[in-house]
């Protein structure tokens, strides 16, 4: 686990040269990457979602491609097409054939195109004209969406939201951090000078190391209890799925490894719960109108479910 912690320190320090005051988000992002999941960055324009994705890809030393989702984007624009050339059909791979894919404003594409990407995310492969092609490893999708501007968008259905391991928000930087940002960007963009501090082979090996992190059976039961609470809450129309439970456990394992531990503690689960469960919980319409949020449900779950600790005291 020491290797994972060292890797995390190296990469996060490199990303921090570009992203100011986003240590916590970078931490969760890297944990999501180690877990083998995909991340949805949800925030208003101009908060650095694209910069974050590019800085991360550059630091990890992985292939990076960006695709801007628009209503007229077709699935083949994403996956690739077979074109007639020199008397034969030749496959021209789409942007999905990369290691880090930034799907910008994913909610602007039609559900058909969204589905094509989400299938690739879930299966790690794409099928074009009946031929299945495997995607690169590691394959990490960073999708962004703007929660404010809803005109001309196609919100991701619940089933597709479930495919994202995490939903993160960058938020606006603090006053001092914004000033520092201006100072840094005055002459040149630090992204231009950023260098890779890792590579694909190391990333693949570390993703396998995560599987060795120990999860106490009582903590696994705690994860299940949290997920089940989200299903039984009075305000919830649709709770978190078993896939969410798996994701929560995997994310907690990654957070433990990043901290240099070979075992998960309840704090890892709690930290992971907020970003893993929230986007998977659908509230009842009337409750949503009253101003309640899925974050409130997660908070209630964390305050209601007993943490496995010493008993009888």
């Amino acid at each position: 686990m020491k290797r994972v912690a060292e890797w995390y320190a190296r990469v996060s320090e490199n990303v921090a040269r570009v992203m100011v005051g986003q240590q916590q988000t970078v931490r969760l992002l890297l944990a999501g990457f180690l877990s083998g999941g995909h991340v949805l960055l949800e925030d208003v324009p101009g908060t650095g979602k694209t910069t974050m994705a590019r800085a991360l890809a550059a630091s990890l030393g992985l292939d990076f491609k960006r695709i801007q989702f628009t209503p007229d984007l077709l699935p083949s624009d994403l996956t690739g097409v077979n074109v007639w050339r020199d008397g034969d059909f030749r496959f021209v791979p789409g942007p999905v054939f990369t290691q880090v894919l930034l799907a910008d404003e994913i909610n602007r594409a039609t559900p058909k195109t969204q589905s094509a990407l989400l299938e690739a995310m879930a299966e790690g492969q794409v099928t074009v004209d009946g031929e299945t092609r495997a995607l690169a490893e590691p394959f990490f999708v960073l999708a962004t969406q703007n929660p404010i501007e809803m005109d001309g968008t196609f919100p991701l259905p619940e089933a597709q939201m479930d495919r994202f391991l995490l939903r993160l928000r960058l938020g606006y930087p603090g006053e001092q951090q914004e000033e520092e940002l201006l100072l840094r960007m005055r002459a040149e963009h630090p992204l231009d000078k950023i260098e890779a501090v890792s590579d694909a082979a190391e990333a693949r090996s570390l993703q396998q190391v995560i599987s060795r992190v120990q999860v106490n059976p009582e903590l696994a039961a705690y994860v299940v209890a949290l997920v089940r609470f989200s299903r039984s809450d009075k305000d919830v129309a649709l709770g978190a799925s078993p896939r969410a439970a798996l994701g929560l456990q995997r994310m907690a394992m990654s957070l433990a490894a990043i901290a240099g531990r070979s075992y998960v503690i309840p704090d890892d689960v709690k930290e992971a719960a907020a970003v893993v469960l929230e986007h998977r919980i659908i509230l009842k319409p009337e409750v949503r109108l009253e101003g309640s949020s899925a974050a409130g449900v997660v908070e209630r779950a964390l305050k209601s479910v007993a943490v496995p600790s010493e008993e009888g005291v």
Binding site: R261, Y263, P266, S304, G312, V313
Partner: protein
Amino acid sequence: MIASLAAFILLAVVLPPQMWPGALFYVAVWALRPRWRTTLLLATPLLTVYLFAGCDCAVHDQLVAHFARAMLLLSGLWAFSLAIFLWRERTTALAAAPLFAWALLLRPAGVTLAASLLLWVILVYLGEKRQSARLGVPFACDARGVLFFAAVLLLAALFVSQAGALRFSLYSLPAGGEPPAVVRTGGGNGPVAPPPAAGSGTARRRAGPPQPPQTPSYVQFLRTLNAYLMSLSLFVALLVLLLAWRRLLQGRAWRLNPRRMTMVNIALTLLLAAFVLVWFVLTFHGEGGYIAGYGRPLARGAARLGGGFRNYGSAGARFWRLPSLSAPLQTLGLAVWLVFLAAALRSLLQRRESALMQGEPATARRQPSEYFAGRVRAAYRSFLAYMRPLARKSASETPREYAARVSRLFEGAAAPVRGLTALYEPVRYGGLAEDAEARRAEEFLRRIIAEIDEEKKNEASG
């Protein structure tokens, strides 16, 4: 348990009955411990002394007497260091075991043993009760422990009383010369006193009159009392020394860890084995002591057997006295014990080698131990119990969240609270614990209680 039982049977075969109580006591103490291999290593030197003492050797010359004293000193040193090790690393109740065993080796008297045990039980009971009251947790007497002590007490008393005349006692070794003539001053289990030396003033005074002078009854009574109290006072003196040493080391980083303890054991065992060897050589080929099962030596001018052996006559009427078998049996017992020791050492070395083969550094953590994990968790439970009236931990709070809250409330105790939590987490969720963790957890608990008590006192006075 099986290993301990086997060890006792082995001892019962090779030891004369008067040595059984000590052996039984010693082995029974370990019967409840699961880590019998370490136990075996820890027990080896004293058991070697027992096996050796079971030879019932008497001393005939100055050289052998020196050896006997050196061995006694070594075994005492070992018993004392083991007691400290147990006190600091294991449980308080067990710490007295090597001291008892050693005291019993010096003077195997049932009454003094029972009195020492009783005293120890009372001390442990009062100490535990005081600790529970201080931590604010309900005091629960360990029924298994009480039963164990009661059983040991009864069995020890039974065996000592059944063993009849106790002839062996290293304590009564003369400075040299003739083997001690047994002069009983007390009851059946009383001590034996050496006869006055040939040139001494007492001998000269006694040499004149044909009738030995009548000892006043009160002197006889005082002698008897003194004899009975001697072992008890020896034990009490050792106990006081142990307490003083513990107090002196309190709060310092000093500790005798099991690895060092093993090294001490190996060194002592080898040294004791060397003593045994020298004694045997002197016995068989010189004018040293004698080995004749449980027989008594004849007069100095008794007929010699060939090859340096001396005929010491019959072993006595008791059914267990089999002089022709005792020496080979004892040698066999010693050999078996050494095989046990070698097996235990081999296992330890193999474990270390396999750890190195797996790429772990030489300073890798020891294997998880349920015992030490239990101690860390017990310390954390005590912390929660102590904090209950001040800041109760909610069910949904993680140990870290709780530590942060307590640290805010009691700033002085912040460091030990964080320390205890950091030790508790790997034990509770990762199953990792080693002896040092347990020790530190208990130290943190003490510091938390001291800091919070101090803060409460300051609040009350200020």
